[in-house]
Symmetry: C2
Subunit: 403 residues, 2 copies
């Protein structure tokens, strides 16, 4: 209710609206935020004086407009005033994106990751190679980077910047954000990778038209993110939405988390790979890459191998059950399925979605809308830039308000 | 951001703070809401002039204060200005509470319910007997009642006032709120019964010290409610939190909703009753009341009947799995277990809670606090008065703001 806090909130709202729009006239801001034209004039003048926004002359959109007085003036974010990095860490490759203050991607890079769990030092080494490649691409140095957002699989304590548990790290409770800052001299913000993809949807995708949606990701594991009331929701204490580790069977299959019966112990790569050798008649002594194994299994299933097909069928049926559970809990209007396993279309077959709807109590309304978004790693990494931009924006605009 | 809306919101905040506190001095309101003393003076004068609040002289709290100038003046809600009814409908008895505008219970009543599903007309007949008894008790008539809140099991569309599905009604998609209003001439607000108990916790219990918590109820079925950020959260589209119908087993036990593998198909009365005959060596021809059957089963289990005990053990293990799933999704600080099945302590045994914690991914923090609240039906019905009071407050204070 206090004056300065309200002004800061409004200034930030105006800035963020312009950034989300790409370009916006003052009249658009007035309409979108429902604040007075006078306030918008004052706030945008402040933002221009502080170097965060600038005026641009919109090219006439229609030939008929030419010569009809001065061209309309729009506002845009001064992109070059800040640069941030977004990183997606995974168990096979790491991906990074460099974005400016406007959220525009300026460069991107990827490096392969050593497979298997690793120490934090080894992980930081891989990150160093990734960042080196990215900065070379962007022709910038670490000193130019205002912040880094990092998304990775596992239980991530976003607020503390720590990793209580991740399938890509050997040890628990690692202070990765602090270690990153020490090594690179750049403030780092950690989050679960599914949250990063959800943030990408919020900023650049579904969030532009809806304020509430769920995202389920299927990759090495099963992840989940939620947007409630236009904001990323991480659970009451910040580490919820562990859909992959909800149990769908008492004393069920062993999960890499060490428990039994987790959804991902039936749906993730490693779960399918366990049965693949049986279906393909392979010895446990045959060394094989998990992706190669799954590609072979998928080809066999397509060719009519009943054992191979039953592996995918079961994964699909169990996925539909897991999805029905979150629909039952969240009653979402929109559920987005994403992740690298898009290629195995069994997971997204009509039968899986029909099975999901079938298992949900009939409320007499239209069922949840399910969309399948085939985003690649770059979009996840872009979500991580959104996390960094959010913090940089708070810092830049919060400091200005306090001054 | 508009002036009138903000004034209305503040006036309502002040009113609701006084109501929640029972009695509050103006200085308490200033401290609690962080608004200026001048604003509080203006807003409370309005509320007094409109007949919603009144000044009372607080009795001195301490003998030493006697004679130290005039006694302190506090504010309280003018309770007698409004009366509302809260109703809990269930499959064995219905309970009602009459509360005044201050939220104080003025009367209560209960009537037995015909067992089994019934038509809406039959249900309205039972409600009529309940209300008649309640009004007689309170020495009031229907004309004195400003609104009714109704909590019942099933999928309830609170916003539409309809019942898409309930285990106590024969038909689907009934417009119960409208039928209630037509019959009794009182505006009615419907909600799921677990939401009502959660609202009771929010207004009169846990909500006084925490802004985020979950409630799980075990009665005829398994229900759930959530408070997020100090507000009752019903799911994105208003009919979420159907924990009882999340699946914990593919092709599992048959639920009364018609699906298989639902949590409540293993934990609710009817689920236990199905196996009770086997454990007790009873023929399917023996007619028996479900409560009597469960009481006998529980006595047998206590006396060492291994078959009887295994029924409770399995229910407990499956409950712990269902609870672990919502802890994994919501990451709650506080989880409240409630409901009539408190008497069967197997459901709340240390082993069940230990099993729940064991199945949740270790985040390195303290586990969710689990509290067991043995509320009876009156508290559920009181939650329904909170729903009605909320609407009456909006109406009374919203109208004043618009004037």
């Amino acid at each position: 209710m206090s004056g300065p806090a309200e002004t800061k909130a409004l200034r930030q709202l105006v800035f963020e609206h312009v950034r989300a729009s790409g370009r916006a006239a003052r009249a658009d801001v007035v309409r979108a935020l429902g604040i007075s034209a006078g306030s918008v004039t004052t706030l945008t003048s402040d933002l221009i004086a502080q170097g965060h926004l600038r005026e641009v002359t919109d090219a006439p959109r229609d030939r008929l407009e030419i010569g009809r007085g001065r061209p309309p003036v729009a506002l845009e974010v001064v992109g070059e005033s800040q640069a941030v990095i977004g990183i997606k860490l995974s168990d096979e490759r790491h991906t990074a994106v460099l974005a400016d203050f406007a959220g525009t991607i300026r460069a991107h890079a990827a490096v392969p990751a050593e497979t298997g769990r690793k120490s934090m030092t080894a992980m930081l080494g891989e990150i160093a190679r990734l960042i080196e490649r990215l900065l070379k691409e962007a022709n910038l140095t670490l000193a130019d980077i205002a912040a880094a957002g990092i998304g990775m699989p596992g239980m991530i304590d976003h607020h503390a910047g720590t990793v209580p548990w991740s399938p890509v790290l050997t040890r628990r409770n690692l202070a990765l954000a602090e270690a990153f800052e020490e090594r690179f001299g750049v403030p780092a913000y950690l989050d679960n990778d599914a949250n990063m993809l959800t943030l990408a949807e919020l900023w650049f995708g579904a969030g532009r038209s809806t304020a509430d949606f769920l995202v389920v990701t299927i990759e090495g594991g099963v992840g989940m993110g939620a947007v409630i009331g236009g904001k990323l929701w991480r659970g009451t204490r910040g580490m919820g939405l562990e859909l992959g580790h909800t149990k769908i069977q008492i004393d069920g299959a062993l999960c890499r988390c060490g428990k039994r019966g987790c959804l991902e112990a039936y749906v993730a790569d490693y779960a399918l790979a366990r049965e693949a050798r049986t279906a393909l008649g392979m010895s446990t002594r045959d060394p094989v890459d998990v992706h190669r194994l799954l590609a072979d299994l998928f080809a066999e299933a397509k060719a009519g191998n009943a054992a191979a097909r039953s592996i995918f069928d079961r994964a699909g049926r169990i996925l539909s059950l897991g999805l029905s559970n979150i629909v039952q809990i969240f009653d979402p209007e929109l559920l987005i399925l994403s992740g690298e396993r898009m290629q195995y279309d069994y997971l997204y077959a009509d039968a899986v979605l029909a099975g999901m709807h079938e298992q949900v109590l009939d409320s007499g309304r239209s069922p949840a809308d399910v969309q399948i978004h085939a985003w690649g790693d770059l979009v996840w990494a872009r979500g991580a830039t959104a996390l960094a931009l959010d913090k940089v924006t708070d810092r830049a605009l919060g400091a200005a308000a306090a001054a």
